[in-house]
Symmetry: C2
Subunit: 146 residues, 2 copies
């Protein structure tokens, strides 16, 4: 957020090449990926990527994760329409974590309707909900959860 350069990344044209991307072997094939609002800096969610989802993310400019529970690619927004347009991709120092700076279509990244999945704050009295949902999950996802 504080970097002086603002030259745009072009993830839709960026092809991953050996030694120049995440090392998925370090995570047994999957690595954690953070989605951050490109404008506000708000951390929206944490998910996982495998090499295939990473490659598709770069190729399409839309965030694609790997769902560990469903054991398949998870194209964010495939049910809700709330896709994430990827504005920038960062790799950490060890090559074992990914940061996406995204534009969250629909405003809410969380399946609960909250902007961020991190809408619960730890306090002495327990968890405190911060903010209000932008949509009703029942309307977006029907009777399914998630």
């Amino acid at each position: 957020m504080s970097e002086p350069t603002s030259r745009p990344t072009a993830p839709e044209n960026a092809a991953p090449s050996a030694g120049e991307g995440p090392d998925f072997d370090k995570g047994g094939g999957i690595l954690p990926a953070i989605a951050q609002d490109a404008q506000t800096g708000e951390v929206l969610m944490l998910a996982f990527m495998n090499a295939e989802s990473y490659a598709e993310t770069l190729a399409t400019g839309r965030a694609v994760y790997f769902s560990r529970s469903r054991n398949r690619l998870w194209r964010k927004g495939e049910e809700s329409g709330n896709v994430q347009l990827v504005r920038e991709v960062r790799i950490d120092c060890d090559g074992d974590a990914i940061l996406l700076k995204v534009e969250q279509v629909g405003g809410a990244a969380c399946h609960t309707g909250h902007r961020s999945c991190f809408y619960r704050r730890v306090t002495k009295e327990g968890l405190e909900v911060v903010g209000t949902p932008l949509f009703d999950p029942a309307q977006v996802y029907g009777k399914k959860s998630g």
Copy 2:
């Protein structure tokens, strides 16, 4: 970042209680934890926590992670002095990811001297380093790396 409320958390006094914190069982005992600069919103690093490191983080108000490579608690800054003062703790919707909003003592979270571990941007031409290190790792860590 965009939430209207700004009531401070007091993580140093917050004790974790059942059902009111992360579910470490979901990650086989460890969960990913994001450290974000509490002031600028910059994502500084991603590490992992187990229940013990989480409890110590809440008890001390300093970020404590679990090092998977060393298989022990990693009190951030234990070598460099660059501790992270925890200003707020968030839990995600599924209870399987943690977000710390921190004040990074020394300014740089990364062992390379960069403010953020995510100092490499993915471009069509490969990885591009963003920003310059705030310190020389050799001076901070001696001849050891990391």
